[in-house]
């Protein structure tokens, strides 16, 4: 079975993206200031209740 280079590259990009998502999902996350990427201001040095 012969694959076209475009199919192989596209499959590589998809697999790479999937791996990034999986790694980010399982990696312990740092506490951010006010949610993750909600765009409500940059995280502060430290925030306390």
């Amino acid at each position: 079975m012969q694959f076209h280079w475009q199919s192989l590259t596209a499959a590589g990009i998809v697999i790479g993206t999937l791996l990034i998502f999986i790694v980010r999902l399982v990696r312990p996350t740092k506490k951010s200031g006010c949610g993750k990427g909600c765009g409500c201001g940059k995280p502060t040095d430290s925030t306390h209740r």
């Binding site: 596209a10 993206t17 990427g37 201001g41």
Partner: protein, 630 residues
């Protein structure tokens, strides 16, 4: 107090709400924390660094605003804990900078006296001297310093005037603690403080004899009027929506044209194949579909910044107090709810200013129903589809206004029901609102804030949305079918199969399997809905003989059911709008709700309630609409 030369001293900024602490904090540390001309903007301790004129590093803590050190609400308790050194991870401050509004010393100095009574070294930052002088107040900072026994620095933090002088006052050795000369064991402490402040103001902050009506008073006679005030409030918000739709059209056209040109350029460079399809349909289509709405989002934040900075927001809170009372809430809930229009996360955090635990819980529960900016790309996609393209932008603004009003009104009804079930507070709370004078907007802050929000939106589009668009493309492309028909290829793909499973659930709402799948993906982030639609509905244009790439909205307008009926009828679009108004599709918000309410049960209950409410509301709208012939 002694300081080892190798340790960094800590300085805490404290003051009444809206005294300008965060503006001073930003000026000292170079940070860009959120500021606004109303009380309750800061609800958590923020820290940064600054340097004395001799290069010694100082750690600066920006504390939430408080009227006294009695700790009535969670944010006031945080301020008191910070001063007492009880905050985990933060040492007791070596010096306290009391930030006071020079135009309102009678009230602001009370807190300064309490800080001095704690035995903490103190510097008084006499902020907003420009406003005080504009009101005809004759300030004598030297006299104030003599009477209080602490350094006094006149300043205007928003113009960065007095910052150098304040840093001079913070040089080493730090000032020592002053004695509370007014304290008298035989007298009530509050009376003693009040008498001392009155005497101090007579000496060092003399007011003109006749009470003059300021410009703010004159403006307020209209904007706080029971009839004109409401008309003004509605006009302000309607104009805001109209301006968003009108002004954004030109830059949106540029982005759409750029996206189309980029797609055509890639098409001319590459032969047909999977990679070309991934780049054009997955990456450019998915990310471009969301980025198109950047101008509208930037405009929304610009106008919110303008309202916050001018002082109008406090007036809106005053007008809304009566409405909030009918919903079982107080004006204190208004500002957290208003913050939620930008993003529910800071809105939920801002509920810390609410004293009543029950009211706070109810406000947290309804906050995600205030339409946040993540919903905007979805609204901006659907609203123009509802109306003919030649209809005026004011009609689109009217629909968007109705969308916001529906979410807010439903939230208030639910709050009323929930508040009734939770019961009355044991101690009745009081809503005290300070109406600050109207001020010129802080343009540099507003533009920096808009830039940061725009950057955050682009970052999200370039990371999460790009990644999900790539995966969605793969799901809608593989496994491949032998058929050359794009509709058959999509039906054969993993996404087509998922859509076939979902379709029976969403069909009663007027949606096909692709819309159902797009809704499912939007639970990761609401904006992903637009990317998913761009990827899933590409089949319509790709299948046609014409090579011209149309924008997503046009693709949706021509989408049909297998029997030839249009998918996006006005009724199905209204049903979709209603679903997005009510559904809880933000995992970070659920996590913050769990943290702030102290209960995962509450957060999960909120998620289940809001999502089932959204489904039921959409179902009713579509089915009733069909029954009556729409």
């Amino acid at each position: 107090m002694t300081h080892a030369s190798d340790t960094t001293s800590t300085i805490a900024l404290i003051g009444n709400p809206n005294a300008g602490k965060t503006t001073l904090f930003n000026a000292l540390t170079g940070a860009n924390q959120r500021v606004g001309n109303y009380a309750g903007v800061t609800v958590a301790v923020k820290s940064g660094e600054t340097f004395t004129p001799h290069g010694r590093k100082l750690r600066v803590l920006d504390l939430p605003g408080c009227y006294s050190l009695r700790a009535n609400s969670p944010d006031e308790k945080v301020a008191l804990d910070a001063l007492s050194g009880l905050l985990p991870g933060e040492p007791k401050p070596d010096l306290v900078v009391c930030v006071v509004d020079a135009s309102n010393l009678e009230r602001h100095l009370q807190l300064t006296l309490q800080v001095i009574e704690l035995g903490l070294p103190c510097v008084l930052a006499l902020n907003m001297v420009d406003v005080a002088e504009g009101m005809g107040l004759r300030l004598d900072p030297t006299k104030l310093a003599e009477e209080l026994g602490i350094p006094v620095v006149p300043m205007q933090a928003n113009a960065k005037r007095g910052i150098v002088e304040l840093k001079q006052a913070l040089r080493f050795p730090l000032p020592v603690a002053s004695e509370a000369t007014w304290a008298n064991p035989a007298e009530d402490p509050e009376t003693a403080r009040r008498d001392f402040v009155t005497q101090l103001c007579e000496l060092a902050a003399r007011r003109p004899n006749a009470h003059q009506q300021t410009l703010s008073d004159k403006i307020d006679s209209i904007l706080l009027h029971p009839i004109y005030g409401w008309l003004s409030l509605i006009s302000v918000f309607f104009s805001l929506f109209w301006a968003i739709f009108s002004f954004a059209q030109i830059p949106m056209g540029w982005i759409e044209a750029g996206q189309s040109a980029l797609g055509s350029w890639v098409e001319s460079l590459m032969a047909a194949g999977d990679l070309r399809s991934l780049i054009i349909d997955g990456m450019i289509g998915g990310v471009g579909g969301v980025v198109t709405f950047l101008p509208q989002i930037a405009l929304l934040f610009f106008f919110i910044g303008l309202l916050e900075s001018s002082g109008y927001m406090a007036r809106a809170a005053y007008l809304m107090d009566g409405v909030m009372a009918k919903a079982g809430l107080s004006g204190k809930s208004f500002l957290p709810l208003f913050s939620s229009y930008a993003c529910a996360i800071p809105g939920v955090m801002a509920t810390r200013t609410i004293n009543s635990a029950k009211e706070r819980l109810v406000t947290i529960f309804i906050a995600p129903w205030m339409s946040c900016s993540a919903r905007l790309p979805v609204y901006f996609l659907i609203v123009p589809l509802l109306l003919h393209e030649n209809e005026g932008t004011w009609k689109q603004a009217l629909v968007l206004f109705a969308v916001y009003a529906l979410g807010t009104a439903t939230a208030f009804i639910v709050a009323r029901v929930l508040r009734g079930r939770l019961g009355e507070d044991i101690t009745p709370g009081h809503f005290l609102l300070e109406l600050p004078p109207y001020r010129k907007p802080q343009w540099s802050y507003i533009f920096r804030h808009v830039f940061e929000r725009a950057l955050s939106f682009i970052r999200k589009a370039g990371t999460l949305i790009l990644g999900l668009s790539i995966l969605l493309w793969a799901l809608s492309t593989y496994p491949k079918s032998q058929s050359g028909d794009p509709a058959d290829a999509l039906a054969h793909s993993a996404m087509g199969r998922i859509g076939a499973i979902i379709e029976p659930v969403v069909r009663p709402l007027g949606f096909d399997g692709r819309m159902g799948t797009a809704i499912l993906t939007s639970f990761a982030a609401r904006e992903v809905f637009v990317s998913s639609m761009a990827v899933l509905y590409r089949v319509e244009s790709a299948g046609g003989s014409e090579e011209v790439r149309t924008v997503l909205r046009d693709q949706l307008a021509i989408s049909k059911w297998p029997d030839g009926r249009r998918i996006f009828t006005p009724l199905s679009l209204v049903s979709l709008l209603v679903f997005f108004i009510y559904a809880m599709q933000c995992l970070p918000t659920t996590a913050v709700v769990a943290r702030e309410s102290g209960s995962w049960k509450w957060a999960i209950g909120q998620f289940l309630f809001m999502t089932s409410f959204a489904y039921t509301a959409s179902l009713m709208i579509f089915q009733v609409g069909k029954l009556i012939g729409y």
